[in-house]
Amino acid sequence: MTGPFWALIARDVRLASTASGGLLTGVLFFLAVIVTVPFGVGPDLNLLSRIGPAIMWIGALLATLLGLERLFQSDKDDGALDLMRLVDAPVSSFVIAKVIAHWIGSGLPLVVVTPVFSLLLALEPPAIAALTATLFIGTPALSFLGAVGAAFGVTLRRGALLMAVIILPFSIPILIFGVAATRAAIVEPDPFWPPFALLGAISLIYAVVGTLGAAMMIKINDG
């Protein structure tokens, strides 16, 4: 497939998978969080499997936000951001392309390694399945949300600090519903589908709001 949209996704995924790209960094950061927590918590398997989903989600949240600051900055620095606007397509279309590529390069690898990493936190198979599903549905929301922060970063100096302040409050609902749905797979009476459906809804809302917000920030910046 050709066209600007797919070309951009292909290039960004290719860049993420290079040695200096974010793919490996994110996965290693995720692993670091998961490996160190059991040592801090101590040898209590029940406790570990109870707080395991929350730890995995916090790890995923931080690992996703890790590389987001650079989402538009590197293209801004080398002038590519201006050139990308010279096609017959709205700014929001390349924002979507970049966010999808970011998710493929950071969110998706976390989802893929989750079943293996979950074993380190003594999670049961149902919890592992639920956790993988919630991360799959929820991490795109983090990428879209982060795009707004990254666009802020392009516009304003000291963007990274601002980004953390702006992004973190809005990432809390994702965390709450993601962990709630996963907990339902462990604790019997809790329902799985309501929080899971809400998580999906948040992803869809953030996809729209995040795209439009980031596109607006980039246009203001260049205007």
């Binding site: 600007p4 070309a7 290039r11 860049l15 040695a19 010279l86 096609v87 260049d222």
Partner: protein, 238 residues
């Protein structure tokens, strides 16, 4: 190449533009047709780059009207799809090879009747660099790779910002040949520059004479747009 742009034109009518809150120039009127070349000159900060961005549609003019178009079967080709911006930044990723970088921009901008990547690089004498990562290239080589982008996805209007900066004499001659070929095909070139570009019939637009504070000064009125020879021979402020 047998192919021609028909009816490419860039028309500025009393255009004023600014950078941030600061009005840089106003009252610019000029018409360019296929085959024309215009050099934007003026001291640093006089708005050469800003005007290129306005022409590219990345920024809006403060006042006046701006037409960038070609005759085409499809009405309303958006301006963004007609212009190439050769900025002073190269838009190249250092981790990827020359071929990968250009292949990306080729599929991003669309191919059309463009030259192949190898041909475009050969025209600028950098064919041997095709499989090297951009990160190891010198400044001048990077610039030439960025200029190769102009020919791999053809567009009628080239907006160039200091295109020959960082290029040696032989390379800038090769590049000017590429520019002449583009003009022969009916394309338009607008270049911000500090050096005399050796192009036939090059017009010059001196932005310093459009600066708002000079606006009441009548002396500039008739001589704002003139041919390049007189600009460079007689000096900027005659």
């Amino acid at each position: 190449m047998g192919f021609m742009w028909s009816g490419a034109r860039v028309i500025l009518d009393e255009v004023a533009f600014s950078r941030g809150e600061h009005l840089l120039a106003n009252g610019i009127s000029i018409q360019l047709a296929g085959g024309d070349a215009l050099a934007l000159v003026g001291p640093n900060g006089s708005g050469k780059t800003s005007l290129l961005r306005v022409l590219a549609g990345l920024a809006e003019p403060e006042d006046g009207t701006l037409t960038v178009s070609v005759d085409s079967a499809v009405d309303d080709v958006p301006r963004a799809a007609l212009v190439h911006l050769g900025g002073h930044q190269d838009g190249l990723k250092t981790q990827m090879t020359v071929r990968e970088n250009l292949a990306f921009w080729r599929s991003y901008f669309g191919v059309g009747e463009g030259a192949s990547i190898a041909c475009a690089l050969k025209a600028l004498a950098i064919g041997h660099l095709i499989d090297l990562p951009v990160g190891v290239l010198s400044q001048g080589q990077k610039r030439r790779v960025a200029l190769a982008r102009l020919t791999i996805s053809p567009r009628p209007i080239w907006l160039l910002d200091e295109p020959t900066a960082a290029l040696d004499v032989a390379s800038s001659e090769r590049f000017l040949n590429v520019v002449e070929e583009h003009r022969a095909q009916g394309g338009i070139v607008v270049a911000a520059t500090h050096t005399l570009l050796d192009l036939d019939g090059l017009q010059t637009l001196d932005l310093s004479s459009y600066a708002p504070q000079d606006f009441s000064d009548e002396s500039g009125e008739g001589t704002r747009v003139r041919d390049a020879e007189s600009y460079w021979l007689e000096g900027a402020h005659t």
